[in-house]
Symmetry: D3
Subunit: 158 residues, 6 copies
């Protein structure tokens, strides 16, 4: 049976040793959604056309969150991201805020966790800004859409 | 129409002024799940009986993540949590890791975001530790189960 | 001659012992400006009417910066701000972005440094976002406008 | 009209994608001043000859502040500075503390923000250490003196 | 047999729930030493009389380190220290730098870890600044000297 | 007499300029111990066989602590560690928890401080988790065992 790379044979958690890996161009794309009541969606939409936009605040929080990944995820390597892009879109048909994040690095380790963390922090920020009117929102379907670079090659979600 | 508390009339984002609020006992409980392939679930279960447990690492990351909430969520107040509890359980029937976090504070502001952040960081850590064998996991259904304390009173998810 | 409170008689830097002080309501207001070329000002003005506003990003950075004050200023106390408000305005007559920050706390120590740090970080963020078109901007006149609360009483800039 | 590099066409704030840039040697030099009352200047001068020097504390804070730049400035890349140098000098003729910071990196992005942040944090620290005797100090003229390296070439303040 | 307060009956690590404790005045004093070669000690002594003092840098790092305790120690509560004092002294007879830290808080939890962390970070900083000339230094005897306040009362090292 | 690399001729603390150094493979190994009462040792041993292991929590804290080194040690360079490994072992004969940390980097500066910080944070975490039953523990003998890479070559503790 395959075993987990983050433990050594004695059961110690380890930051995986990537020192022998060649630096390659790494890209990861992650996505997720915040589901809410119809009235809440309408409120966010109404703000979106003027200054003081919920999505703009969440978008910035997502970018900053990507940078905090090694502080949050115990076994993630500290790394120097070369690009972070976060986009939020309203889907009124589903009463959803859809979030997508893309991270890039030329380095020895992938950036999946950075993209997933960006999505998570953006989603939490949407929740925070709207929670006074809707506590029943759900953050859902946070997943990896795509990764490329590195020894394990390209992954594309089906 | 109700408006959002995190913007002033000019559209400036604001950290809500809680200085006039009386400190009260605040509790918040949040939950969420990581869904995965059956083989991945089996792998985590196998580890759970020995040292080097995925859930133990994620559980600790969740506690530490709760403390980083004001660094991550732009308009959250910095605050001195009096308790953080994070629990992870396997549900093999759903191939799910279920996460629940409880935060407490005696203070002027609620701790919903701290509980939701604890769940999110624990979920991301599960993903990180298992991603070498399963990139198609989903972090899902992050939501508030319960809050009490403060002017808005008690909320209980249905 | 008056001496400095941040050194003990041996010359050791100290975080001033505030444990015997009664908690009082503290407020501090600080301000500052970023001066730039007329063309740069025009560019920021043009953005201000649509999504993707320089001032909105800087405004959020200022709020988050206030929370990082004890990490940055060696002898500042960690504290639980109850309010942070940051406002940026364009003054086209002076080709200036004017920044004002207000912080509040009920506690044993003042929040002047938090307000000044919020202004500084907002100003640095304006610089960052516009530096590709204007490297000659100046951050200037960062100062305390007002403080109240605490043993030293109220200060009002003339 | 030139547009801002930190927004995409939809108005999303972006961390600029530098992944296609070649790493080059980057240097940035920034400066700024803290202006104060003559008595305050005399007090700092008096300390400078013994242990417990205001300038030494501010100088160290500036170096540490440079390292926190990506945590503070939302769209700054995380990066691995190869050198930070901060110098503070008294100019009694102007009752000024003059601060200069030099940062270096071999990388894909400039270090102007790191140098400007070092100056800002050093200046805020001077303010903090002396504010008990002089609240009317001003942090002023924070500016870029020089940068070299990268596609945009060398900038020299006039 | 006594059991550990930081685990629940299921073996989950927990941040101990202090929400029912009354805030009391807490004090903790910790100490430790850095042992080195006689030549290294002489070098530090020589610097101590002029600007650029190893002990002054380490002393400041210790104060800042105390503030980072909840970021470093997984189950420590975030808290608002009311005083941090760090002192370093040379003992040439033992070729030792002796470090002592005192932390205070009015709160629901003790500050032993903050005092011990301050000593550790100050000791590490001494090592860092002198390691180019002496890699064989030892950081040793980090211990709690005294604590008071809280339910467990006063502890005094023998 | 040799002088210290972390001060310039004027006595300013400096982050050493490594920009002219070639990146090489760097390794550092550090160690240290926590000494305790026999009953405390027995308590930790009893936990080690089930979930909720003191050593597992401390081990993870050590890895995360290594990543915080540039935040803690004022003149340390920020850097992108390629590997961190922390191991804790009980030595019942000495009533000691022995800690060893290994850090790696391909870069321009050594990782001794990262390894020493990992050991220190792991030791502090052991103290934190057991302090309710034993306040007289000592953290001791934190030292560099080995370093290789860089201009100063290999160091091996005797």
């Amino acid at each position: 049976m395959t075993d987990l790379t983050h433990f050594d044979p004695l059961g110690n958690a380890v930051m995986v040793d990537v020192s022998a890996k060649a630096p390659t161009e790494r890209v990861a794309v992650a996505a997720g959604s915040v589901l809410m009541a119809a009235d809440t969606m309408a409120l966010i939409q109404a703000r979106g056309v003027k200054k003081g936009d919920v999505l703009a605040v969440a978008q910035l929080a997502g970018i900053m969150g990507a940078k905090r990944t090694p502080d949050l995820i115990p076994l993630c390597h500290p790394l120097a991201l070369s690009s972070v892009k976060v986009e939020l879109q309203l889907d009124p048909a589903r009463n959803a805020v859809d979030i997508q994040a893309t991270c890039k690095l030329t380095g020895q380790t992938g950036v999946e966790m950075e993209a997933l963390t960006a999505v998570s922090v953006a989603a939490l920020t949407v929740y925070d800004m709207v929670k006074a009117v809707d506590k029943s929102m759900r953050i859902t379907d946070i997943r990896l859409l795509h990764k490329s670079g590195g020894k394990s090659g390209t992954y594309q979600a089906v």
